[in-house]
């Protein structure tokens, strides 16, 4: 039998509601709990969830209609059912006549519970406990007694009073020194924060130098993006055991490839292909081959991310920002160039959204344009590694087994890795993959 879809009762004293809009339409496939329509009472507007999986059919009321609560407004057809299975009823397919009196309260609740798939015990319990079954989540295809009990428990369960396990003494010290307990790493059993942990904590909010130093200085408050950078860098460097490995790569072939790609881009009047774009492409390829480098340590689990989202450290006047190229491994060089152009121009205009800087899985930091030969970067948590790219210089190198020397463009790549997750060999393999793809770019075609 098709599942009747009633106008739900949200409030104790609510008698009717007005349909604002149907989000789903006659014949649409609907899923349980999915929003099907929005209604408005004299107090609020509410989204009405679907009572079952199936196909929406027999819609009786339209946008703007005001309907008494518990009235059947539509049906959900279950697999194998058709419109022919809909019960014939006497309610006209228009707004109810004003003289239709709302049914007595007892019938209302009976009708309300009957319209939701529930076991008889669950229906009785719901009545006794005054629970609106429409609000109860079914664990199976019907609401059971356990579901009602679960609902009752969840309803009364207070939100946790404390977010961080800490001893009373630790809480007092944190209070006295204005240190956020969430920022303190606990050394006690099960990570409980103890007084000594708080005492040893160097709050990023607290200047390392004592206040009252009277030497003339321009004082910049540590706020906003600067404060966030300070906190993240400090916690990353303190909590993540960093290892750093450096490799030197010959860029001759990659530069040649870049020239050819740019000739192509010019012909099609596309933007120029930057070295960064090529590095993003190559890095994404190498990350796919070395999943641990593209991971996060979350609690006691290592999440090897399926997506490769590469952040590009970008300097702004206010500080550093890391816009993210999502699913870089799925993108062509052309798409990466466009994404980079888009992100950097929006970053300069201060128009990046939160989504642009979130969910990175790896970061590239390039200081080559400043002539930096080589440097070590601090990992951008919760990522596990970061690649620091040095400047390209032309220098004499031995190019073959006969010890012949030639001048070649070369640069250094330094990987900082969280040693808890990434072994030295894993980091080395990743760098070797990068070297292979940079020195032999057609590897990516292979």
């Amino acid at each position: 039998m098709p599942v009747p879809f009633i106008m739900p009762k949200f409030d104790m004293d609510q008698e009717k509601a007005t349909i604002i809009s149907w989000e789903k339409h006659e014949g649409d496939t609907v899923r349980m709990d999915e929003t099907v329509l929005t209604v408005e009472t004299d107090k609020v507007s509410m989204e009405v969830p679907c009572p079952a999986d199936g196909v929406l059919a027999g819609i009786k009321y339209q946008n703007g209609d005001t309907v008494p609560v518990t009235t059947v407004i539509a049906y959900v057809l279950k697999p194998g059912e058709t419109v022919a299975d809909l019960p014939r009823d006497k309610i006209p397919a228009s707004a109810p006549k004003p003289e239709v009196a709302p049914p007595p309260l007892a019938e209302v609740s009976a009708a309300a519970v009957a319209s939701v798939a529930a076991t008889p015990v669950a229906v009785r319990m719901a009545k006794e406990e005054g629970v609106d079954l429409a609000k109860v989540q079914a664990s199976g295809n019907r609401i059971t007694r356990e579901d009602v009990e679960h609902y009752l428990v969840e309803k009364v369960k207070p939100a946790g009073r404390v977010a961080v396990a800490a001893t009373p003494a630790a809480r007092r010290v944190a209070r006295e020194r204005d240190i956020p307990l969430e920022a303190v790493a606990g050394s006690g059993p099960r990570g409980r924060v103890q007084a000594a942990d708080v005492a040893a904590f160097q709050s990023p909010h607290q200047p390392i130098f004592v206040s009252g130093d009277a030497r003339p200085a321009d004082v910049v408050p540590l706020i906003g993006i600067r404060q966030r950078i300070a906190e993240r860098m400090q916690s990353s460097f303190q909590e993540l055991p960093h290892i750093a490995l450096t490799i030197e790569v010959d860029v001759t072939e990659l530069e040649a490839a870049r020239r050819r790609l740019n000739e192509l881009a010019m012909k099609q009047s596309h933007g120029k292909v930057s070295m960064t774009a090529l590095l993003v492409k190559i890095t994404a390829w190498a990350l796919k081959r070395n999943p641990y480098v593209n991971s996060s340590l979350v609690g006691d689990q290592i999440h090897l991310w399926r997506d490769v989202n590469i952040g590009i450290a970008t300097a702004l006047d206010e500080g550093l920002i890391v816009p993210v190229i999502r699913q870089a491994n799925e993108k062509s060089i052309r798409q990466i160039v466009d994404a980079l152009d888009n992100l950097t121009s929006r970053a300069r205009d201060g128009k990046l959204t939160l989504a642009d800087v979130q969910q990175g899985t790896f970061t590239i930091s390039n200081l080559g344009m400043f002539g930096i030969r080589q440097f070590r970067a601090i990992i951008n948590p919760p990522e596990s590694a970061i690649l620091a790219v040095g400047t390209m210089i032309r220098k004499p190198v031995v190019i073959n087994e006969r010890d012949e020397v030639a001048v070649r463009p070369s640069m250094t790549l330094t990987l900082s890795a969280d040693h808890r997750v990434i072994d030295g060999v894993v980091a080395a393999r990743f760098l070797n993959d990068l070297m292979l793809a940079i020195e032999t770019p057609e590897t990516l075609l292979y």
Binding site: T167, P168, A169, A170, R171, R172, S187, G188, P189, Q194, A195, A196
Partner: protein, 328 residues
Amino acid sequence: MPEMTYLEAIRQALWDEMKRDERVFLIGEDIGRYGGAFGLTHGMLDEFGPERVRETPISEPTIVGAALGAALVGMRPVAEMMFMDFTLLTLDQLGNQAAKVRFMFGGKATAPMVIRMPGGSGTGAAAQHSQSLESLLMHIPGLKVVNPSTPYDAKGLMLSSIRDPNPVCFIEHKLLYKTKGEVPEGDYTVPIGVSEVKRQGRDLTIVANNVMVVRTLKVAEKLAGEGIEVEVIDPRTMRPMDTETIIESVCKTGRLLVIHEACQTGGWAGEVIAAITGSRAFDYLDAPARRLAGKDIPIPYNRALERAAVPQEEDIEREIRAIASGQY
């Protein structure tokens, strides 16, 4: 200062006070010619005569009832329970009558009496002669409960107890009778309701009574060599208890362990911990407050099991190490 045993210190207090105050007399089983089950009243019959060292039939209710009657008419009786366990026979005389009279007669009648009770295990005396019932007595308003751990405290507290206008349960531990310590000659008192820090330390506050004080101090000395500094507080009086000293100490150390021989369930360690967590010391607790108590069983006769039933030095050491190394 002369050295004497815990037992001698109590005897000296009784002796001196009987000399000083004619109203003081002793009453109990076998306390005359035999000198009491532990010899504590040895020689007192000859000195003070049968009027003031009164022997009774084997009836503890009679002893406490008679003592209460005498106290009500102005005497200062010191009654002896041969073993603390037998106090259970006297709960009506003690708990329903002696503890209540001062309140029920609006202070017009008082019961200035002392009931001495040797408690504790460790002598192979089995379940009916080895109990530690201080928690049970502490629960009855109107009774004071004292339990000294040193000869000095024993003499000073006995004099305070006899002079107190309320019924005082004076708990002696059998294993302490032969322990020695310095005891001043003459009259001095240790006030009821004042605890004492027996050892200073910065890492952990331990509250322990009677023989557990002795054991804890030994362990504390050993661990001090390893840099674990334990503060040991002897409440001396179980009721009224001087919690302020414990609060002060916990504010300093941030950790609390309560040790008693009495069974854990319903034991006074819970009372101390509740007093601490409910006080300003709460904000100084840097680890869960813990207790180490006797097992919830009748004391076994078997020596090995008897030993295992109550905290020993090795148990105390293990617990302190666990707390000091942050295991809880």
